[in-house]
Subunit: 390 residues, 2 copies
């Protein structure tokens, strides 16, 4: 049997109905989603202030174990504000993985800053700390307490790590590097709600971090995101700057900095509250889906189910398989066969340095990211696929 057929067969363990279309990830509404959104519409409290926004923020802070969570319009907006609050300015460089969704690089560009692409490691799919350390030794220097790129003369003002598909990056050595070079760390945790690094939820080690609740994520608010941080001052500032930076006053409109309209409306936060109530259940269902895949792919030569790292816990947001090097040329055939069978699959994102607007950005050797891009395939991962354990 061809590799493509074997992959289709394995995925069928979670996606059994040949008549059905299986998206990569769809929302699961099994709680109070209807009740809370009805409440918003009935009371006409649908907009940017409301009890669900406050409650959602509290639930997020509690769940992630951070001191403050700020609900915003989406994950891109969250990351944009993280960068601003990390002090990124026009013409700075920001280190970020080449293997990421385009929003990571775009958020850097919104600041007028330049993405500087770093390689990933196969062990986590995220930033490779060893390789980064070696690289910084050769290109970075500290001047007046700040890190500069010797080659471009530009300040390196932040490192973004991204927990790809929900798999946590190896944070300890990364934090060490950031401390050594005085580079503020931001965790792009858009894909990793429910993922843990050494028993601590992702997003806790960055000075400020972002979450996403887009429709394809583990939980959704329609569109939405959040900023999380353990720095209460940064948290206050994040709330202020995402709500137009208006000084509280009974009637005056005084703003003392360039603010943003990045609020999450109350009706979207209402969905978020309901989703948070069911998050533990969604995560166990997703774990079951992953376990099923693990068994289903165990016997297939030339392809491997990607498991969580030993040091952490993944939310298995989007399950993925990695083709063996010998089978890399089969990737598009597998993608075609699965999609033709009504099973949505997709490769990793095209690496950032291959996109026209980022092709001239500085970068290190990206051979591992290239290798991952050539062999990775995401497969359907919705919680509602669970319950068919075998």
């Amino acid at each position: 049997m061809s590799l493509s057929s074997q992959v289709v067969e394995a995925i069928r363990k979670n996606c059994p109905d040949p008549e059905k279309f299986y998206p990569l990830h769809e929302p699961t509404f099994g709680g109070n989603e209807m009740k809370y959104t009805q409440d918003c519409v009935a009371t006409a409290w649908v907009s940017s202030v409301g009890k669900y926004v406050d409650t959602f923020e509290e639930m997020l802070a509690t769940f992630t174990g951070t001191k403050r969570a700020i609900a915003v319009a989406n994950g891109t907006a969250a990351l944009h504000i993280c960068l601003i609050l990390a002090g990124v300015k026009n013409d700075d460089e920001v280190l970020c993985p080449a293997l990421t969704f385009v929003a990571t690089a775009n958020a850097i560009a919104y600041c007028g800053a330049i993405p500087h692409f770093v390689d990933s490691e196969m062990k986590t799919l995220g930033v490779d700390p060893l390789k980064l350390k070696e690289y910084l030794k050769s290109i970075a220097q500290i001047k007046d307490g700040e890190c500069y790129n010797k080659l471009t003369g530009r300040r390196i003002k932040s490192l973004i790590v991204m927990h790809a598909f929900g798999h946590p990056v190896d944070l300890d050595p990364i934090v060490e590097i950031c401390n050594e070079y005085n580079i503020p760390l931001i965790e792009d945790a858009a894909e990793s709600i429910g993922s843990y690094y050494k028993r601590v939820h992702t997003g806790n080690r960055g000075i400020i971090s972002s979450l996403s609740f887009n429709g394809n994520k583990t939980i959704t608010t329609g569109g939405g995101g959040a900023i999380i941080t353990n720095d209460e001052e940064l948290g206050k500032l994040a709330k202020y700057i995402t709500t137009t930076a208006k000084k509280p006053h009974k009637w005056e409109f005084y703003h003392d900095m360039i603010g943003y309209n990045y609020r999450m409306p109350n009706i979207n936060a209402a969905l978020g509250c309901a989703q948070m109530e069911t998050l533990s259940d969604l995560l166990s269902k997703k774990k079951q889906v992953a376990d099923n895949y693990k068994k289903a792919f165990a016997g297939i030569e030339g392809v491997e189910f990607y498991d969580e790292p030993s040091f952490g816990k993944s939310n298995f947001w989007l399950n993925l398989i990695i083709l063996s090097k010998e089978n890399a040329m089969e990737r598009d055939a597998v993608l075609a066969a699965t999609n033709d069978a009504g099973i949505m699959t997709r490769p990793a994102w095209i690496l950032m340095q291959k996109l026209p607007m980022y092709k001239d950005c500085p970068r290190m050797d990206l051979s591992v990211a290239e290798d991952i891009e050539a062999r990775l395939i995401n497969i359907p991962s919705s919680p509602n696929l669970a319950g068919k354990s075998y």
Copy 2:
């Protein structure tokens, strides 16, 4: 009786209950808001793609008489994209009124451009075309077909006009100036859905224009906005750039420019569809509220109800009164008396050049805007205040 007491008494014609708090503007849900949002939640189609987004965009284009409408996250996002598509780049100048909500200036700053503040006229509360024409004669010059500020050397790449509180700006002479100086015109129609300039809906004369559906607007989607344009190419590009600039492909993630995540989620668009169905009714109710105020304030010395201009039709988004020059010093007393009586009122926005981040921006004489700021007071204007005609 003091002026403050007379004002309270006049407002009581629309806001009769002394025990109630009357906000400036609250949402009125009298149609299919519940039904459509329930449909989204029941089907789990809440996110960035969905039938309500498409329908809402069609309804907006039809209602405004424009060729294309693109629903986005909010009015600020819409204006940001209008500026990008008008060609505004880093270090350009953009002419805009000093008398506006801070989002207008912020959207310019997001482009790395510099707001250049122009004066308003009492007749419209918007940009004064005569004064602008005289000003440009003294500071502007055309080089290689583009307009430059002779004093700063910077390109002037756009003019934003804003239909303040729903009152249409005098567009004909403004369009003439823009043509003469080759300055692309953008209409910030955030406040003016249902407002017309010479029988044409506001937003049609800019090369591209913005709307807002924030919770305090005439209709609301929780948070939301739209871009409208009669240029189909710009419209296509606006849709593309607000949805991450991703080339359509079955599985590949190829983006060829810096895009934005400015989508409006389907559940918010569902509210929008229901609101659009009732918009005509909301507008007549708002007209009735305005007519009531007009009568109520007719007999009061020292204060004038601000009516629509002879050349157009206002949606009376936020009704307003203007104190006579002699009574300007009473403004804060009137604000205090009304707010203390449970009647929310507020002054005009603090002029942009008075905010610390915009204090050094170029500007013309702003004496009329200063005068308006000193004497204008917004008063409660929700459609649900109607029905008490007297």
